[in-house]
Symmetry: C2
Subunit: 424 residues, 2 copies
């Protein structure tokens, strides 16, 4: 057996990027109702002027501004009221000299008018309106296209469709929009001891955790998980399951497939599959036995089986790839400063991701490192975030201030977001 060459975290991430050049997997058209949170696949140009007609910005009277010049409270100008244009109505009347038309805020301005006198500056005598103030041409009128001109780029490819942006699309009369397809990610759990929840638990068996943790984490990156099943200890079965998963997905993840006991089976399955191994072991903790391979140009990740390690390696190696494939700039997570409740003795030769639980005291946040020995559930559901300790750091004492990146909340970052700009 040849010795495996462990690469550094940076080398691994670089090799993944270089090999897969991850990017969007396709474009689809969805209705506005389904589009919340999706990523715009192309620039949106306004198909119409907004507003599409000259709009009154005040309740009052549409006038020819010239007719009001010289008007004052003592010397009002008298205009003949020739009609009314309500909200949402077509202005069927045209304005001649000395005439005015009653309008509401948002009404269409009649032809011949070029300004609005607000109602407070007028009084009415029969069919005549007395104007007490002069107005200038264009006063309280919003021109055609003054908000958005036809052809103008309103939203850009890569924008995440927020409530406000969906509103902008609606204002243009668009009822559907082209967004990046959600990449499909097949997930396999491996381990003879694994049982799915709801099934009876035989002796020696435990319930699988990773299937739902990883599938849920996939959803957070705007991808669609596809749980392809649990593989036992047969390389042929695993290879077949992987092939089936890959045929229906853009990416494949197998958890529990990189530990000492199962790595031979996985290697055999990858070989059966004709997969090319890109990375075979990384100087990270957890995640040293992580395998990244390529089959049919698609990425294939073999992650550890320990639930905390599976989640951590997913975030480090898989999430950035999925984010790019979903058309995102990345995934945002809050970072907080906290003091260590106990020292961290990292593995000096690896980049360490140390899960921590946070507690809040009178002097701020405290980070409690979660030890490797903790049970699978305790360490998984107890961790609020993690601390990174790079290769070569030998010791972090109790009380040291550290930066904790939270697992939750997390949010997709669009290419146009400030956060993304700050990074780039």
């Amino acid at each position: 057996m040849r010795p495996r060459t462990l690469v550094s975290l940076e080398e691994a991430l670089e090799a993944i990027k270089r090999t897969f050049k991850p990017g969007p997997v396709g474009v689809e058209e969805v209705g506005l109702w389904e589009a919340l949170g999706r990523v715009l696949a192309e620039d949106v140009r306004a198909p119409i002027h907004v507003p599409p007609f000259r709009r009154a910005l005040m309740d009052g009277y549409a006038v020819r501004a010239e007719d009001t010049f010289g008007a004052s409270l003592e010397n009002p100008v008298r205009l003949r009221l020739v009609g009314r244009v309500g909200m949402g109505e077509e202005a069927r009347v045209a304005l001649g000299p000395g005439e005015c038309v009653e309008v509401s805020t948002g009404s269409m301005l009649p032809e011949g008018a070029n300004a609005v006198v607000r109602v407070e500056a007028t009084s009415v005598e029969g069919r005549e309106v007395l104007v007490h103030e002069p107005v200038v041409p264009g006063q309280d009128v919003m021109d055609v296209g003054a908000d958005i001109r036809e052809g103008e780029v309103v939203l850009r490819a890569g924008d995440i469709l927020t409530p406000a942006r969906l509103g902008a699309l609606s204002s243009l009369g668009l009822r559907s929009v082209r967004v990046f397809k959600r990449p499909v990610v097949a997930v396999i759990s491996t381990g003879v001891e694994l049982v799915m929840p709801g099934e009876p638990l035989g002796p020696g068996k435990i319930y699988d955790i990773n299937w739902i943790t990883v599938c849920s984490a996939i959803r957070m990156v705007l991808c669609e998980p596809l749980f392809a099943g649990t593989a036992r200890d047969d390389p042929g079965e695993l290879a077949e399951m992987m092939a089936r998963g890959l045929s229906r997905a853009d990416v494949l993840i197998a958890t529990g497939a990189s530990s000492v006991g199962s790595s031979d089976i996985v290697r055999e399955a990858l070989s059966d599959l004709g997969a090319r191994i890109i990375i075979d072991g990384v100087r990270v903790k957890p995640g040293k036995p992580t395998i990244v391979a390529e089959a049919d140009g698609k990425p294939l990740f073999c992650l550890p089986g320990h639930p905390m390690s599976a989640l951590m390696t997913f975030l480090v190696f898989v999430e950035p790839v999925l984010a790019s494939m979903a058309g995102l700039a990345g995934i945002g997570r809050p970072e907080v400063r906290a003091r260590l409740a106990s020292r961290i003795i990292p593995d000096v030769g690896r980049h360490n991701f140390v899960p921590v639980r946070l507690s809040r005291g009178p002097r701020g946040l405290t980070a409690h490192p979660i030890l490797k020995g903790s049970g699978a559930i305790t360490s998984l559901s107890g961790a609020d975030g993690y601390v990174e300790v790079p290769e070569g750091t030998d010791f972090l004492p109790e009380g040291r201030e550290v930066l904790v990146r939270l697992f939750w909340p997390c949010w997709p970052i669009g290419r146009s977001d400030l956060e993304a700009q700050a990074r780039g």
Copy 2:
């Protein structure tokens, strides 16, 4: 007409809370696959011990610790190998004095064994295993229930179901979970000028924006929007639409229903409906004509029609109510510090929410106030967040550092979240 009494922002929020005492609207059971991001409705107690059997924590040999006492490299203890327990297998063999059983990490420990000797501390001679190191009882053994004891509370009501928490539920064998129901929120747009996107735009008409902005914002609070249609200028029609919406929803929102032109129609509709008006005007900007009413114990919000004002008043008045009804502690949004690009002249007698656009320069973030005069789309899609200027503040000069609360990203805050704890 009696003069309306405008209440302060704080009075309005207090009256809303006091009247509706918003809380969860119900409980439903969903599968783990559908449960991501939902809010747990009750504490989850472990129905089983985890691990459910004594587990080996190392690859090696299950032994009686007493048999290894005194073992050393020079003086190994010889144990008879009586079997093997693989991962996921039942331990069918029982251990007598002087015997050992081969185990893998995660294997079930056979009866009679009380410790594991790691494989590195052994050598094999035929059917005998030479143990070079003593072990103590319990060494490298995880006891039944050592991770989670049966009956222990693993997750609490109010917890948001993150990927890790769903993993914890799965580890307990649970395939479904009881979560708070999503409150249903009916939305009505009002305005004779409004046309739905995709429809032809007649003269004097504009496309509706608020239907999708508000419905999308509702989704962000884990509620289910129900668009109930566009009401024209007939109070009877509006009342009927409101009644129909309320009969199918827990909350009703009508936008464009509180402006000068439409407020009489709305008041008539509310009266037809038998609704009790709780708040009729608030000293906020935007949102002064906001109406909050109660019908059949359900909250009914009439918000302004200007899209930026509709979104802003939704966030201020409606979102906290919906969050409580969804079982949340609130909605989180990033807050950033920025310098004003231009002065803000607030309405001194009101609490001002000033939308701003952010830009990043060499000296940090700059907040550009968005003026009231801006077009509907420009101001909606251009705003990154808002600055609050409380009643009584008369002026914020250019260059002043302000706190900007972003509209996006936003995330639900569970009752157990650190953020929520910090508030409480």
